[in-house]
């Protein structure tokens, strides 16, 4: 792009930058506006999650998984619980399965709202961010009623749940969904089809499908590039096969397939899908006791398991090796944001300064999950 090449200056989009979604440093080589090379530097938020897990029993690992991806803590718990249950081949009553699906889909809504809001902020639109956070507040209130906490829930346990739905909770969820559905096309009106927004995001940071697969990118970023891959459908866990929902895929309506706008729009469509799932799950909610299958002492048999679930950012994989003791021998968490950030170096070089941040925002990374 740039014809005039002065000597390259390295610039640190440093750990304390307003739009790096956490503590991330981008070491950037640039000669003015055009950025020729981006190298993300991570590790500022490393809390040795995996070393902790080797000294803590299976029940006590759950508050740690919350703190990895603190924006979608329910999905983390869910992924971990499903992995350990497969290790112990423990079967969970139906009501627990339904509640788990409802709760993690609600958390997916909250996480997407945050992702789209901050993406709007990176591109400069300030108001949609506040609209989205106003609605996210409602979901957090619901979670607060359910398990006391707004962000780090420690709600889904291995083998069941910590609390059951309080009386009248289902109606509240339905009220929220009825309120929330029309808001979506309000966001579309103010941001998605806004000419300047389209100009800023179409054809920016295009991520071709093979590059995405080779970089292990998953979730909305991969679906934005046109690959129809969603763990809830392709490698079903829990009871997702009982619900019918389709998987939105980037089609390049505005720019080319796989640009920032596609990734943004895939998340927007995914929200409508999640609403569909929640409605079906609430309608089909059976009765039963959620504490029934909670094992007294979790001692999985020797062996290892690698289980993947669909978190709002992509494939959240848990590799757990147990040696029969109540403490995991080795626990590795494959974080989707980690792979999404690794592709940053590839697709963000050659763009302008403000585009690099727009691409970063569209990848929707969470540093807690990257640095573990």
């Amino acid at each position: 792009m740039g014809v005039v090449h002065g000597d390259l200056m390295t610039l640190n989009i440093g750990p304390q930058h307003p739009s790096t979604h956490g503590v991330l440093r981008l070491r950037v080589k640039t000669d003015g506006e055009i950025i020729s090379e981006v190298e993300p530097v991570i590790g500022y938020l490393h809390r040795c999650f995996e070393k902790h897990c080797e000294n803590v029993t299976y029940e006590q690992v759950i508050p740690y998984t919350d703190r990895c991806d603190y924006i979608a803590a329910m999905n983390n718990n869910f992924g971990y619980a499903v992995a350990v249950e497969e290790l112990m081949d423990l079967h969970v009553p139906d009501r627990v399965e339904h509640i788990r699906v409802i709760v993690s889909e609600l958390n997916r809504l909250a996480s997407h709202l945050l992702a789209l809001g901050t993406f709007g902020l990176d591109v400069g639109a300030f108001t949609p961010f506040l609209y989205m956070f106003r609605d996210r507040e409602r979901i957090l209130d619901l979670f607060e009623v359910l398990c006391g906490a707004r962000l780090l829930y420690n709600y889904i346990w291995v083998g069941g749940l910590s609390h059951d739905f309080p009386k009248g909770f289902e109606e509240k969820i339905i009220d929220f969904l009825d309120y929330f559905e029309p808001q979506l096309d309000e966001y579309n009106g103010i941001l998605t089809y806004n000419k300047i927004f389209i100009e800023r995001t179409a054809d920016v940071g295009v991520l071709p499908a093979e590059v995405a697969i080779s970089y292990g990118v998953t979730g909305p970023n991969l679906r934005g590039s046109g690959v129809k891959w969603d763990l809830r459908k392709d490698d079903t866990y829990s009871i997702y096969e009982q619900f019918d929902f389709n998987i939105p895929v980037g089609t390049g309506t505005v720019g080319t397939v796989g640009d920032c706008w596609d990734r943004y729009y895939v998340r927007m469509l995914e929200m409508t899908e999640s609403i569909k799932i929640i409605r079906q799950a609430v309608k089909a909610l059976p009765s039963g006791d959620v504490h029934q299958a909670l094992p007294k002492k979790i001692r999985p048999p020797k062996g290892s398991v690698y289980k993947r679930t669909e978190s709002p950012r992509g494939d959240l994989g848990y590799y757990i090796e147990s040696d029969g003791s109540p403490v995991p021998y080795r626990l590795k968490m494959r974080s989707p944001a980690f792979t999404a950030l690794s592709v940053m170096g590839e697709i963000a070089s050659g763009w302008m300064m403000s585009d690099v941040l727009a691409i970063l925002g569209s990848l929707d990374i969470v540093l807690g999950e990257i640095d573990r």
Partner: protein, 296 residues
Amino acid sequence: MSDEQAKLIQEAVAKALAGDMDMINNIEDRVTRSKAKAALVKAKREAKKSSATESEKPTSAPPVKPSAGDEKLSFIDEVVAKALAGDMDAINNIEDRITRSKAKAALVKAKREAKKAAVTSEETPQVESIPAEKSLNQKVAEAIEKKFPSSLTGDDVDGHIQLKGDDWFNIAHYLKDNPDFLFDSLQCITGFDLGLENDLEVRYNLHSMTHNHAIEIRIQTDRKNPKIPSVEQVWRIGDWFERETYDMYGIIFEGHRNMTRILLPDDWEGWPLLKDYEAQETYHGIVVPKVKEGWE
């Protein structure tokens, strides 16, 4: 212990085994008498064990517990066997409370084993009924064996495939390009420390987007200088996963273009996830563990 004392003890034990206990009882020196008694008990136990082995019951009787008197154990076995056959009163009318509870526990254990045996027996027929479709792992293992002889180490292939590290790079290429495998996405690389002295292991979870099937490949390297060929060129995500495994385990991936730490600061000593890792006291003068008085 002088030798005549030893002789005296052996003699006393021999007599006691034959049933005449008073020889042992009237050894006046307290120490030798207790030694003799100990020797007697040991002798008895050997005798018991030798007799117990040939009388091993065909049914999955509860394993012989060395506790309590030996004859009591065989009594429990019979009672449990009877209870298994359905006649419960044998157990109920054991008057001595301890043995009755032991018998009941043994019964429960026996039942559970019986159930488990039944469950596995149901499963196994399914697998045998479709022998034609060999599991994916076997197919991959055979393919690798054909192309790269002597690179498979482990034989048990159902859970994972154990490989030797040396030509892992072209195996990886082969796995990626082979039309009926097409493992185009490397899901996760997990470093693994098998134990304090034995070696390190790296586990690759591969997945194919088109065929939607997945396998796990494990490669072991020794602990002193762990070296594994890098697959960074094959799957681009390998770059960061390998750097993280290096960061945590110290496994050096040859051929990796930028083998540096990714999460920890570059000048951090030690590999944190090894089992024998001690955190360094201070890092650039900052005391690592948080000091807090009024606690501990």
